[in-house]
């Protein structure tokens, strides 16, 4: 059936190739970034190893750092006060450098649910929580969550009771935001490590709520 010049002899269609990164052309800003980095290295302003190490640091941060802070705040009322005052200072107590930009925690209560967005671009507490998910950067999330957050949360599987006030925080300026979620019922006997395990990235963005282990 085939007139392929490249016949494996088994008559299966050729396996589709996953395109390599280099198969799409660089955008203007990608070219500009690479050019500036090369120039800075060439002029000994920064070293190639510093650039590599910074990538490594950013890739090594993960939501687990934020989850530890949340679990401690659930377990220690005094720590919670300090966390609500300054996330960066609270993180430093764990030996974690939460970065140069001040981070604020927005506390969920039984009456208020918070959700975070950056409508302008993709501002996110990345030194604490790692890189943001792709959907956080999408135009759909950024434009819809300020307009119809209940519908957006429902698409993430989160149904908020009608009497809960919803507050959307748009991080347009010199602060980054994370949500301090409400500790779920049925977690009274849990230690900090077990509590941290139920605090996910999406809980700290506010599109979902932590669930007690074993529920659903």
């Amino acid at each position: 059936m085939s007139d392929h010049t490249h016949d494996h002899g088994d008559h299966h269609p050729p396996h589709p190739m996953q395109p390599d990164l280099e198969d799409t052309p660089l955008t203007y800003h990608q070219s500009m970034t690479l050019a500036v980095v090369e120039l800075l290295i060439e002029k000994n302003v920064i070293s190639a190893d510093e650039v590599r190490a910074m990538h490594e640091v950013i890739d090594a941060t993960s939501p687990a750092l934020g989850a530890k802070l949340v679990a401690r705040a659930w377990s220690d009322a005094e720590f919670k006060k300090r966390l609500l005052k300054s996330v960066n200072d609270a993180a430093a107590e764990f030996g974690v450098d939460a970065g140069p930009v001040p981070i604020r925690a927005m506390e969920n209560t039984t009456g208020v649910h918070n959700v975070i967005v950056c409508t302008l671009c993709s501002c996110y507490p990345k030194y604490l929580l790692g890189l943001p998910p792709d959907w956080y950067k999408s135009r759909a999330y950024r434009s819809r969550v300020v307009r119809e957050p209940r519908a957006v949360l429902a698409e993430f599987g989160t149904q908020l009771p009608g009497d809960v006030d919803l507050v959307v925080h748009d991080s347009t300026a010199d602060f980054r935001y994370m949500v301090l979620p409400l500790r779920p019922a049925g977690t009274d006997g849990l230690g900090e490590e077990e509590l941290a395990a139920i605090v996910t990235r999406d809980c700290m963005i506010g599109v979902t709520c932590p669930k007690a282990p074993g529920s659903e």
């Binding site: 119809e148 919803l166 959307v168 347009t172």
Partner: protein, 99 residues
Amino acid sequence: MSQPQFQTSERVRVRQWEPPGHIRTPSFIRGHTGIVQQIAGQFRNPEELAYGRKDARLLTLYRVAFAHDDLWPESPPGEQHAVIVDIYENWLEPAERKS
């Protein structure tokens, strides 16, 4: 350092303004009225910092709350929420003044 021009709980309007260049005030709140939730400190104007002006002037930053009904009057009922946006003083004017 300058004294904040607006106080907590004061009603403010976001300027209906389309300056060229790097802008940190989203368009969906321009021309809308909100309430100052908090005076969040003073920061160098990021719209100047973006062009390498390291001595950009210090501006008071406000956290301003907007009501859903005001921002999106045409949207269906059931979506009652507030949006809190961080806005620099140069983008705000008293709510009473005409924009």
